[in-house]
Symmetry: C2
Subunit: 387 residues, 2 copies
C-alpha cells in the first residue's frame, strides 16, 4: 500500500430542494458574486431565475457562454477581468463540469498578478483564490468535489488538466432534479466519463480490497442507474445515485493507497477534444476499450480478471485471457448499448492527424510512466484502432 496525503474539505449539500439554503451559505463570503454559467440551459430549467431570486440582496455580476471543453480565451480571461475590476468576493458556478472547471481557473487567476496561463501550466504557483460555490446540473465530471479542472486553448491545441488545492469548491449543491432535463446524449456521455474516472484508477499495480470494492460498486451503480435514467429521465433515485457516484470520480478517494495509474485514457482523450472539440465522455468511451485491448498482457491480465468477474459477473472458471477479453467486450457493448458513438469517425475524426495527436500526447502527458506504459507508437496504434 502506498503512502498518501488526502483532504477534501468541500461541503456537499445534496438532495431535492437544497438550493433553498443558498442565501445562508453565500452570506459567509461577502456581497459581490460572480455568477458563471454556460449556454442557457439553467435558464430553461428555471434555475437561473431561482438563483437570482434567492440572492436578491447580493450584487451579482455574470459570465455566461462558458462552453464544453471550456476555453482560456475568452472565458477564463473574461472571468478574471470581471473579478479583478469588481473585487468579487465569491464565484457561484451554476452548470456542469465545464462551467465549474472554468470557474476554478478564474478563481486562482483573479488572485494572481500575471497571466493566468502561468498558473494553468504550472509556471507559477497560486497563493490564493476567490472562494467557489457551485450548483451542479450534470452528473459526470466530479469537479464539484475535487480541486481540478481542464482548460483548453484553441490556438495551441492544448487541453490541460489544472489542479490546485486552492480550488476545492467550498460548498457544492447537488440537486438531482436539475439533471432531469439532461439529454440522453449527455446522460450517456456523463456516465462514460464517470466510469472512465473509476477505470483509470482501478487499473493499476496495487490497490486495496476496500478501494476495489468501492470502485466495482461505483461502476455497477453507474451502469444500472444510467440505463434507468435513459429509460425514465425523471427517476429521482437513479439520477441521485448517478450524481453521488460521479462526485467521487477525481478527488482521489477511490485510489487512497493505490499505486499511480497514469490516467492514460484521459491523456489520450484530452488531445482528441483539443484537436476536434468532441464531447469528452464520448471520446473516453471510444478510447477505453481500445486502450484495454492494447495493454492486456501477462502483467495486466489479473486486474482484468478481477474487473470482469466483479463488475460484469463473468464466470471466473475460465482461462484468464478469455475472461479479460470478455470484460473488454462487455465494456464496449455497454457503451454501445447506451448509444454512444463508438468510433472516432462517428464523431468527425479521421486518420489525418493521428500522428500529430500521438506526438502531442507523448510529449505532454507522461504516459511512458503509466502502469502500462504508452509510447508514441502505442498511441498511434490505440488511436488507429479507435477510428
Amino acid at each position: 500500500m502506498q503512502n498518501f496525503d488526502y483532504q477534501t474539505p468541500t461541503r456537499l449539500i445534496f438532495g431535492e430542494g437544497v438550493v433553498a439554503q443558498l442565501p445562508e451559505v453565500m452570506s459567509q463570503f461577502g456581497k459581490k458574486i460572480l455568477l458563471t454559467y454556460g449556454g442557457g440551459s439553467i435558464k430553461k430549467i428555471g434555475l437561473y431565475d431561482k438563483v437570482k431570486e434567492l440572492l436578491a440582496d447580493y450584487e451579482i455580476f455574470e459570465l455566461s457562454g462558458i462552453q464544453p471543453n471550456p476555453k482560456y480565451d475568452p472565458s477564463v480571461l473574461e472571468g478574471v477581468r470581471i473579478c479583478k475590476e469588481n473585487d468579487i468576493d465569491v464565484i457561484l458556478a451554476v452548470g456542469g463540469g465545464s462551467v465549474l472547471d472554468c470557474s476554478k481557473a478564474i478563481a486562482t487567476g483573479a488572485k494572481y498578478d500575471g497571466d493566468p496561463w502561468d498558473l494553468i501550466t504550472y509556471k507559477a504557483a497560486a497563493t490564493d483564490a476567490v472562494p467557489i460555490v457551485d450548483i451542479i446540473t450534470l452528473a459526470a465530471t466530479g469537479s464539484e468535489y475535487d480541486p481540478g479542472g481542464v482548460i483548453s486553448r484553441t490556438e495551441t491545441n492544448d487541453k490541460i488538466g489544472y489542479v490546485d488545492p486552492h480550488n476545492y469548491p467550498r460548498v457544492s449543491f447537488l440537486d438531482p432534479t436539475y439533471t432531469f432535463t439532461v439529454s440522453k446524449k449527455q446522460t450517456a456521455a456523463g456516465c462514460a466519463d464517470a466510469m472512465n474516472h473509476i477505470i483509470e484508477q482501478y487499473f493499476c499495480a496495487d490497490s486495496t480490497l476496500l478501494n476495489d470494492g468501492f470502485m466495482e460498486a461505483g461502476l455497477k451503480s453507474l451502469m444500472i442507474n444510467a440505463v434507468k435514467c435513459l429509460e425514465n429521465p425523471e427517476d429521482y433515485t437513479a439520477r441521485a445515485e448517478m450524481m453521488l457516484t460521479c462526485t467521487y470520480g477525481c478527488n482521489g478517494i477511490y485510489a487512497l493507497g493505490s499505486s499511480y495509474s497514469g490516467w492514460p485514457c484521459h491523456g489520450i482523450e484530452h488531445a482528441l477534444s483539443a484537436y476536434y472539440d468532441i464531447t469528452h465522455g464520448e471520446g473516453l468511451a471510444i478510447i477505453t476499450p481500445r486502450w484495454m485491448k492494447h495493454i492486456l498482457s501477462d502483467k495486466t491480465v489479473d486486474r482484468f480478471v478481477k474487473y470482469g468477474v466483479n463488475v460484469f459477473g463473468i464466470d471466473e472458471n475460465q482461462d484468464k485471457f478469455d475472461i479479460a477479453n470478455q470484460a473488454i467486450k462487455a465494456t464496449y457493448r455497454f457503451f454501445e448499448s447506451i448509444n454512444i458513438p463508438m468510433h472516432l469517425r462517428d464523431v468527425g475524426i479521421d486518420d489525418s492527424r493521428i500522428g500529430e495527436m500521438a506526438h502531442h500526447i507523448a510529449v505532454n502527458e507522461g504516459l511512458e510512466e503509466a502502469w502500462a506504459p504508452l509510447l508514441e507508437s502505442d498511441l498511434v496504434e490505440i488511436l488507429t484502432a479507435s477510428l
Copy 2:
C-alpha cells in the same frame, strides 16, 4: 435516497514514516501544545520520544493516563484546566480512539466558560475549539476522521456519544507500523468495532448500490485483514488496509443518502461499558449477532439476504430466512474465530443489572426510532440472549 449535508475537512497523512512531517504540520497552529496520551504504550513503541524530539522547539504540556472508555473526571476536566491555564494553541492526541475522543471533549471544553458537561450533554453549543492533530496507534474507532467522541461519567453510569463539527481533527497521521504491537485482543476488538460501525449503517431501510458495495468491501476487508494481522502482527499491508477501512467508520460516508439506522448496537453497548467498563469492541461483538437475530423479520430479511450473499458468499438460491440465519451465524462465528469472548458472562457481566441497563438505554438512546425499533422489553431480551 435521502438528502444529506456532508463535510469531512480532516487531512489524512497516511503511511510509514509520515510522522516526520509533524513539525511542519504543527507550525501552522502555534507554539503551545497539549500532548495527550494513554497508559504509556506510546513510550514502549518509541513514539513518545520521537514526538518530543520532532517537537523540540515547541512548549509541550502533557495529559497522560487517559483510559479506554475515557472519563470525564479526571481526564476531560484536567485537560480543560491545562488548556485554559496555559493558553494552549493545539492539542496533539497520540494513541487510540479513547485518547482522541477525550481530546475532542477537551478541545471544545477549553473554549467554553461553563462546565464542559453542558457541551457533552448538548445543554450548550460550542462556538469554538482548540485545534486537534492526532497520531493514531490503533485501527478501530475512526475517531481520526470524524467529529465525535464517547465520554463516560462513572458516577452516573453515563457513556455519551458527543458529536460537534468543531471537533474534526485538522490533521490525522496514520502510520500502520505503530499498530504492529497492538495485542491480539485489541486487534480483534478493533476489527469488531469497525465491523459494527459498518453493520450499524448497512442495516437500514434504504441505502444505495454504491454505499452497499463500499460497505460490503469494508466488511470483507476487515475480516480478511484482521485474520492476517493476528497471524502476522507485522504484516504492513494488512495493518494498513485495516487502518484505512476503520477510518471511514463514523464520519457518515458509508451512509450518504441512506436512511437513518439508529446505531442500535452502539446504544446498547454504551450501557454495557458504562456499567461494567468492558472493552467496547468486545461488547459490540457480543451484542451484534443477538441484535440481528432479534430484529430478523419480514420487514428486515431482505437486507440480511444481501448481507449474507455479498459479504459471506452464501448461496442466494435458498429460502430468505435460511440465508439470513446463516449470515447471522457467520457473523457470530467470525467474531468467535478471532477469539473474542462471545458471552457477557465471559467479560464479567451477569444478569443482575439487565433490567436497570435496559431501562437506561430505553430512556437515553432513542432506539424506539431505529429502523428496527427497540423498546425496553426488546432490550431486556437482547441482553438476556447475550449472557
